[in-house]
């Protein structure tokens, strides 16, 4: 039987506000337990929630970014269930009337084809705290610092047909929220979390029963978890079994999903409008202000890069992967002049160095200004491409600007024809037999043999000779 996989994702993006969604406590990651849990976050008797304006602004920006129907009137509801990391016994979320309605994003697959994935809705809600299971004589410790951190839950349509599409979609949402500056996207710290609803069906059939996969904290694990789950479901169905609708936890160590001890055995959340909060009503003025300074979004920027900088699709995709990198690239172009050259250096030498050191673009010791300065020296023939790599390494190591390094290490290209001629003459003199062989060879062979002389000249000049001039000079000197 041919099976078709159907995947929908629920992505929780923590919004990058300073304070919590309903209280004035800080949201910073990594504070000592319960030091950022105020009376409201703890659900003390008598406290009340007041909505953070910035969280609403961020939702509005997201809505605009995915071309969604922004709901001018949305309502907070209580989702009731008991869990120790949920202080009030209910989570304030949005149910019937979410702030962001139907929208869509376009994903680019590896083969270059594009697909549109529907976003069903996105709503604001509060995060829960954390349970810590280690070291309390068989008890669980509860840290409520995270309780009340604003989340935007982004629910997709079941539009994805493979793990790779799901990952491409998740990456796209990740890219968008980071471009918008509404989420730091840190998956390790849990700022960006994806749950996957996975089912399989014979092609053309009705939707199969789905399992919800949780606890996925990287794109790699997302792909693996879905692939494991798809195989599990197919094996199950092909051996005559049935898929149970349940929540399954992905275990990255074993690379498998396993059933969670049914947390929601009586899955009845008794949603109702939160009487402590009033309907959120957004007027034109609010919306206009929220989206007034929207950044250029990745898809638009990619197309512009192709046109404005004459880049190929691969480079443009890579350079617009995140806003910081794209900004870096454009700053490099402004400082360095040559867009093509800048693209090669940013995606080549710089990306390689960052990768080697495990750094983000924002941490690069070589700023866009510095890289631009280096590229200028390549363009104006002060140094060769090869020497430029040497200068780049020195800049990376903190050696100063390109000009300073070129100056202090004496790397300036030798373009003075008199000086070059001296070196070329010496090389020709020292290699008489090769010169003879060259002169007797046919044109084709000569072209190959020229490399030998160029190499010797470069060696003698410690790489500083201008390769183009060397070539010309050699051709002249070697001519019979």
């Amino acid at each position: 039987m041919q099976w078709e996989t159907v995947i929908g994702l629920e992505i929780h993006a923590q919004l990058a506000t300073r304070s919590k969604i309903f209280s004035g406590a800080a949201t910073a990651f990594g504070a000592a337990p319960n030091t950022q849990a105020c009376a409201v976050d703890l659900g003390l008797p008598g406290v009340l929630p007041v909505l953070n304006r910035e969280a609403v602004v961020m939702a509005v920006r997201f809505s605009a970014a995915i071309g969604a129907d922004l709901e001018r009137r949305s309502v907070f509801a209580r989702k009731n269930y008991f869990y120790p990391d949920l202080p009030k016994g209910y989570q304030i979320s949005q149910f019937e009337l979410p702030i962001v309605g139907r929208g869509r994003v376009e994903i680019l697959l590896d083969d270059g084809t594009a697909r549109t994935i529907g976003v069903t809705r996105a709503h604001l809600e509060e995060d829960a705290g954390k349970s810590l299971h280690e070291d309390f004589h068989g008890l669980t410790g509860i840290d409520l610092n995270r309780a009340g951190t604003p989340l935007l839950e982004i629910v997709s349509e079941p539009d994805m047909r493979s793990a790779r599409e799901a990952v491409a979609y998740a990456r796209k949402i990740h890219q968008i929220v980071r471009y918008l500056g509404i989420c730091d996207g840190n998956m390790q710290e849990g700022s960006f979390r994806a749950d996957a609803n996975v089912s399989v069906r014979p092609f053309g059939a009705e939707l199969g029963t789905r399992a919800e996969l949780k606890n996925i904290n990287s794109f790699r694990f997302l792909e693996r978890a879905i692939n494991f789950e798809v195989e599990r479901q197919i094996d199950l169905l092909e051996s005559g079994g049935t898929v149970v609708q349940e929540t399954r936890l992905y275990d990255p160590d074993r690379d498998e999903t396993r059933s969670m001890r049914s947390k929601e055995e009586a899955n009845d959340y008794r949603y109702f409008p939160d009487p402590d909060l009033l309907p959120v009503e957004l007027d034109d003025e609010f919306v206009a202000a929220a989206i007034a300074d929207m950044p250029e979004l990745p898809d638009v920027r990619r197309v512009r890069f192709c046109e404005e900088y004459a880049l190929g699709q691969t480079d443009a995709v890579q350079l617009t992967a995140n806003r910081e990198l794209a900004d870096y690239y454009e700053a490099t172009v402004r400082a360095g002049g040559d867009a093509r050259l800048a693209a090669n250096w940013v995606t080549g030498e710089l990306a390689g160095a960052l990768n080697r050191e495990g750094m983000e673009i924002g941490q690069s010791p070589v700023s866009a200004m510095m890289l631009g300065g280096l590229l200028q020296r390549i363009s104006d023939n002060t140094i060769s491409g090869k020497i430029a790599k040497q200068v780049f390494d020195a800049m990376w190591g903190g050696g100063g600007s390109a000009d300073e390094i070129i100056q202090s290490q004496g790397l300036k290209q030798i373009t003075d024809s008199g000086a070059l001629e001296e070196i070329v003459n010496a090389v020709v003199d020292e290699n008489r037999s090769q010169v003879d062989a060259y002169r007797q060879a046919d044109e084709k062979k000569q072209a190959k043999m020229l490399g030998f002389f160029v190499g010797r000249v470069m060696q003698a000049s410690k790489g500083k000779a201008n390769p183009k001039q060397v070539n010309e000079l050699l051709r002249r000197k070697l001519a019979p």
Partner: protein, 483 residues
């Protein structure tokens, strides 16, 4: 000294006739003398009271004191008071020392009031007789075999017995007005959102409203002045400006249009209580008002509607009492489920559990539309009834409670009969309207309350109407025998 108005006491304090410390001692002495019988207070803190009285005396001497400076009051034990036990009448919070002040508490404290203690109440404000308190029933000063009403029973009885000058209360379905009526005092429930709910332990968030229980409308105006106003910590608090509530207390009532809802004078109403209300209305006619019959056709559904909306909200509001971060925790829980179930079952009393169960049911899958949504729709109809009525009249009058105070134990085992004792007060909560209960002609020595309901944010009008009657009558000055 104990039977004086806030204004008279304030004048005495400012004139130096007596100090706040003396006044506070006098009330503490009365409490010591009478509260053993009445059981109005859950927590007393004489030392703290005298310290703040001394501070108030300094403020008064500095000449910067407002009308409430140095006045001894009591807070219903539903308001969080920093560093003082706040039990909400429940075993669940018997060990709960609130770590912060409710907005109402901090405002009244900034106004210079002296807190004598925290008053007894029905557990989590769920009751109409003060019999559901973990701390025992409060006795009605007019007859100790009778209930004081509820849920603000301790506040009402303590004002009636003059154990404090005034007290705070909360009203979710009548919990200020009904005990005020049964204890022969004045009880004001403001418009929903007029007084901040921050720090007021929630029962039903869309109905709860803090207010005052006082000897008179004049005193209520002074209390409300300090309590009312926008609070940035309460999203549902109104930004409406706060008028001067004392300014127009004496305004003439000539031409005042009074609506008498025919549904409030139905067969459930005690005949003598009805007669007392009619006499009061006659008095208003003499004062130049015009009374007319009106209809609030959906008001008969208010009890049914209320007993869906309030329990639904309470079932969720009370989930935070789980034995984890504060409050009662059962002994040696064997697992998480056991911790939750035993802490909650042992910490909550029968009526609270009953309402949590009803509310849970009304919100549960398959019943939400039939109960919760239906109730919210009828709530709209009830609110529309009032809107139409206020197109025609300025205030609505009727009985606060269908009977005078009933005997302790009389209705305790019959929840539905008990619920019906709030039949006339609940609609104002569903609509969010302000209401006041003032004492009128007693029946067989037992107090009777006249309820006056006003349009949104018309507290000043209610106080004016109430005050004018209190200028013409002495019912509010009557003291229960022995006090």
């Amino acid at each position: 000294m104990h039977n004086k108005s806030i204004m008279a006491l304030g004048a005495g304090l400012r004139a130096g006739d007596f100090s706040s410390v003396e006044l506070t001692r006098a009330f503490l002495d009365r409490i010591a003398q009478y509260d053993g019988e009445l059981n109005c207070f859950i927590t007393l803190d004489p030392e703290r009271a005298l310290t703040s009285a001394a501070a108030a005396d300094r403020l008064i001497r500095s000449g910067k004191a407002g009308p409430l400076a140095g006045i001894p009051i009591a807070h219903k034990d539903i308001f969080c008071t920093d560093g003082v036990k706040t039990s909400c009448g429940s075993r669940m919070l018997d060990n709960f020392i609130a770590p912060y002040d409710a907005t109402v508490v901090s405002r009244l404290s900034e106004a210079g009031t002296v807190m004598l203690g925290k008053t007894n109440m029905d557990e989590f404000a769920m009751g109409s007789s003060n019999e559901t308190s973990y701390y025992g029933v409060v006795r009605n000063p007019w007859d100790s075999s009778l209930v004081p009403g509820g849920s603000s029973g301790g506040s009402a009885a303590s004002v009636a017995a003059r154990l404090c000058v005034a007290a705070t209360g909360t009203d979710t379905g009548g919990s200020i007005r009904q005990p005020a009526a049964l204890c022969g005092i004045t009880g004001l429930k403001p418009t929903y959102g007029r007084v901040s709910r921050y720090g007021m332990i929630a029962f039903a968030s869309s109905l709860d409203q803090g207010g005052a229980l006082t000897r008179s409308a004049e005193d209520a105006a002074v209390m409300l002045q300090a309590m009312a106003g926008f609070d940035h910590r309460d999203s549902t608090s109104a930004q409406e400006p706060v008028p001067d509530y004392s300014e127009n207390l004496n305004a003439p009532l000539t031409g005042l249009k009074i609506g008498l809802p025919k549904e409030y004078f139905n067969e459930g109403l005690d005949g003598e209580v009805a007669r007392s209300v009619e006499l009061a209305v006659d008095e208003y006619r003499r004062l130049g008002a015009e009374a007319m019959e009106i209809s609030l056709p959906n008001s008969e559904l208010s009890v049914a509607t209320y007993y869906v909306v309030a329990p639904a909200e309470c079932s969720s509001n009370l989930s935070r009492f789980d034995g984890v971060r504060f409050g009662y925790r059962c002994q040696e829980p064997k697992d998480l489920e056991d911790l939750y179930k035993r802490s909650r079952s042992e910490g909550f009393g029968a009526e609270v559990k009953r309402r949590i169960l009803i509310g849970t049911y009304a919100l549960s899958a398959g019943y939400y539309d039939a109960y919760y949504l239906k109730a919210q729709q009828i709530r709209h109809l009830i609110s529309d009834d009032f809107r139409r009525a206020f197109d025609k009249v300025d205030v609505i009058m009727g009985p606060t409670s269908p009977t005078t105070a009933f005997a302790i134990g009389e209705k305790a085992d019959d929840p539905v009969t008990m619920y019906l004792s709030d039949i006339y007060t609940i609609a104002a909560n569903l609509a969010g309207l302000p209401g006041i209960s003032i004492p009128v002609r007693p029946v067989a020595g037992k107090p009777v309350g006249l309820q006056i309901i006003g349009n949104y944010f018309q507290e000043a009008k209610l106080l004016n109407v109430a005050h004018r009657l209190q200028q013409e009558s002495d019912w509010h000055r009557a003291l229960p025998t022995g006090y």
